[in-house]
Symmetry: C2
Subunit: 114 residues, 2 copies
């Protein structure tokens, strides 16, 4: 997937501020942050969307949730809280066709969520 932005970040051919990584997924800062902390967690392997059949991968999700929890601990976010957001398609506002989980924290996030 040479044309996929997040595949290129995973490959290291586009720079990103990596926060934490595992064998299955990496976390890096969103370049257009919408909260004091705004991090993206993406699988290393290309998966188009949470709506793709390949997204039903329990081991991958254990990794992703573990990353989110580890980031929350290392950045001191657990006590105040955070929000995870996963967008699919136009109505969801998915901007890159590579599954990614937004981690937002550092301010009181409003409701509704968009």
């Amino acid at each position: 997937m040479d044309s996929c932005l997040f595949c290129r970040i995973v490959a290291g051919t586009i720079p990103a501020t990596i926060v934490r990584e595992t064998p299955r997924a990496i976390a890096f800062r969103d370049v257009d942050p919408k909260a004091p902390t705004h991090i993206l967690i993406v699988p290393r392997d290309h998966i188009d969307s949470v709506d793709s059949p390949e997204a039903e991968d329990g081991a991958l999700w254990a990794d992703i949730i573990g990353l989110a929890r580890g980031i929350a601990r290392s950045l001191g976010l657990s006590d105040d809280g955070y929000r995870l957001v996963i967008n699919h398609g136009r109505d969801g506002g998915q901007s890159v066709a590579h599954l990614h989980v937004h981690v937002l924290a550092g301010r009181r996030l409003g409701w509704p969520p968009g």
Copy 2:
């Protein structure tokens, strides 16, 4: 967890509009919907939050993502899109201390997500 609202919905002692269920999780309509489709997916077993150690359960997440995808297909949401939201703590806006995934669809969801 007799005092937990979502445990009581799982147990059937508080009514809810169930959309779909699996051995590990159930999906029901949010009573205060923020989009034309607004469904909650919750594990049957009590887990306080996505930030809890018990949330690093890959089999549970395969079930939850499978439920979300199945709902998207059955309600015709996959083409237009949807958003999944998981809140932890005060800043995240978590309103019930039982892990739940919001599924929102049916309108163009805005950015930032809260």
